[in-house]
Symmetry: C2
Subunit: 384 residues, 2 copies
């Protein structure tokens, strides 16, 4: 790569498909399901160059470029585009908002056909596996039999791993970043605090707040807790130290006058403008319930994915999804006879590193995708 | 020690002294200040065997034995008593509830003499240094010129360190356990979330809740966040794993059916029965503002404590006050020419280890106190 990667220049439009009915792991049915999605690059003639990117807890379908409606860049714009890690000159990139979400796909804020009102807590419990089933419908919609790769960080990595176990014939490779095979009790505990915080908000009203004030303060609190876990002690020290910001006008002596406190409040307050509290409940719950191995051992559950190439990336300062969880996944892959490449990236950014360590990720992922593509089309290099 | 340590057999009575007025670091005055305290063992003739134990955020004066009023054992009963680490056969142990607290000492729930109503948020901002000044009055009340040791874990360790820096002539040794010289932004952030959670509770009413319902849910939330930071991922995995408890009657699908979630809720709910939300605000704020070095370098600020023996203990799995913070303190001591002994104890209990790793702490602390006593009375061994 001698040239600077260029940008996606066209404005990107979020699109929608309707799935008539989706049967969930629980046996419950959602009908219909709308999925918001975006695509970048061109699907090739034999439909073999498609990469599905799965987003994390609060992400959306808008992974790259500038959105036509909002003008905002995508959440992984640094990684998806011409000449980037997910190279839109070569690959057809798909990203959709998960079911249960609130950024265009069907979730608890969507109208319940039975009542015409938003589902609220009548929305059925969803799992990471259910998110994958909905994505599968989208992939089929494009006539794609087999994805080149499914990639994602954090909750996105969980979806990528469930793709490999539940639909191994549907993908050639998995890129699982800063993720885990199951949530530990500490990880469950942090999510639980966020949920309790939302449910303790007087505006929560058992999930029926759509015609009034939303439980914004509770959701902001949940986001603040989340943010602490996304950063590292070191990155916070770099960013804020023990600096005070200017005292607020109200001069409350118990107020948020440390910079770090002001930052967290700002992050919490801006989050509530773009996210639905009920979705936060449902998606964190899906994460907590996620357990890739299930009743089997990890190698046994991974055995079906024997023909898939795995890339596993972790970050040294990530204490939310610590590297030892990735190494456990790698060990499971090796015991299952899976071809797996693992890298533990030096970073002080904590869990957020998967969004920030672009150079190293670009290097590793481009190389990995090139290797997987080459294996898929062994003669291509010779012909060109 | 061939015999099993025995118990404190007499019931312990919490006692109180009144300090007429206390000028705080801020320049504000609290008058009067009541301090709740307990003592164990006998003060010797030359008043040289007194050890002050300082409690952590939510502790109290009742460190050992069974309390006469409540019948409950002290919070460090495993460590204080005949033949124990803090050996009441040899030492006179003092423990008092900090100012700003809510377990007998003057704090925001105490009546404001100016109004006759509880102080609430009119209580002045207090610091770790202010806690120490109040304790100094108690020590003077006993006619003690110099303490054998000041000891404490977590916020108690901060008090012990401030004793050494602010009143070096008043103590022979410091035992600082699972603590730090200053709060990092991550540590501030966790406290901030707790405070925000309390202040977001609709019952908070700007701290004026004493004649109505207290902000119990907010305080419980703060405690839940705290508890996550007190444990380790490993100790949680040992204790709960991903086990479910029986589903609650209300069968809420988003409810707390993981054992870890139920445990945290229980801990939060029981905490609000014994703790005042305003005290939580004031004490966490004192902790966040604490910075032992202040405007100086750490070795410069410690230089005054050159004649004091330091013992610093940290625990490998403590991620709230990670061992590197203790090592920073030890480094500061060494650069200041202070005699310091350091031990990093293997434990999976996380921050809670300072309350739980009794055997190792007993071994280390008894040995340290024996050494300090021997140096103070070099001929005693020869005469007996």
């Amino acid at each position: 790569m001698n040239e600077q990667p260029s940008k996606i220049t066209e404005l990107v439009k979020t699109q929608y498909i309707t799935i008539d009915r989706l049967t969930l792991e629980s046996g419950e049915v959602i009908a219909p399901v709308i999925l918001a999605y975006e695509t970048y690059g061109q699907l090739n003639a034999d439909r073999s160059n498609a990469v599905l990117i799965c987003h994390a807890l609060t992400g959306d379908a808008h992974v790259a470029g500038l959105n036509a409606a909002t003008g905002k860049p995508g959440w992984w714009d640094t990684m998806v585009g011409p000449g980037k890690a997910f190279n839109t000159d070569e690959h057809f990139i798909i990203c959709s908002n998960v079911i249960g979400g609130c950024q265009g796909s069907t979730g608890p804020a969507s109208p319940n056909p039975a009542t015409g009102e938003p589902y609220g807590l009548d929305f059925p419990l969803i799992t990471i596996g259910d998110m994958v089933e909905a994505q599968l419908e989208l992939v089929k919609h494009f006539g794609i039999d087999k994805l080149l790769a499914v990639a994602g960080g954090s909750m996105g990595g969980m979806q990528a791993l469930v793709w490999a176990v539940n639909h191994p014939e549907r993908l050639n490779s998995v890129i699982a970043i800063a993720t885990t095979t199951h949530h530990s009790p500490q990880q469950i505990a942090f999510n639980e605090v966020g949920r309790q915080s939302i449910m303790a908000d007087p505006h929560f009203n058992n999930g029926r707040y759509y015609d009034g004030k939303a439980p914004e303060r509770g959701l902001a609190m949940a986001r603040m807790v989340g943010h602490i876990t996304y950063m590292s002690d070191a990155s916070m020290a770099d960013k804020f130290g023990r600096r005070f910001r200017e005292r607020r006008e109200d001069g409350a002596k118990l107020g948020t006058d440390f910079e770090v406190a002001g930052y967290l409040q700002y992050k919490g307050d801006s989050f509530v403008k773009r996210f639905d509290a009920n979705s936060y409940l449902y998606l964190t719950r899906a994460i907590d319930l996620y357990d890739l191995a299930g009743q089997k051992s990890l190698p046994d559950s991974l055995a079906v994915a024997r023909n898939i190439h795995f890339m596993v990336l972790a970050f040294k300062s990530d204490w939310l999804y610590p590297a030892h969880q990735s190494r456990e996944l790698v060990r499971g892959c090796k015991l299952a006879g899976i071809d797996v490449t693992y890298c533990e990236i030096n970073s002080t950014y904590g869990h957020d590193a998967f969004l920030l360590e672009v150079d190293e990720e670009t290097h590793l992922i481009s190389h990995f995708l090139r290797k997987v593509s080459r294996e898929l089309h062994p003669t291509e290099g010779l012909l060109s």
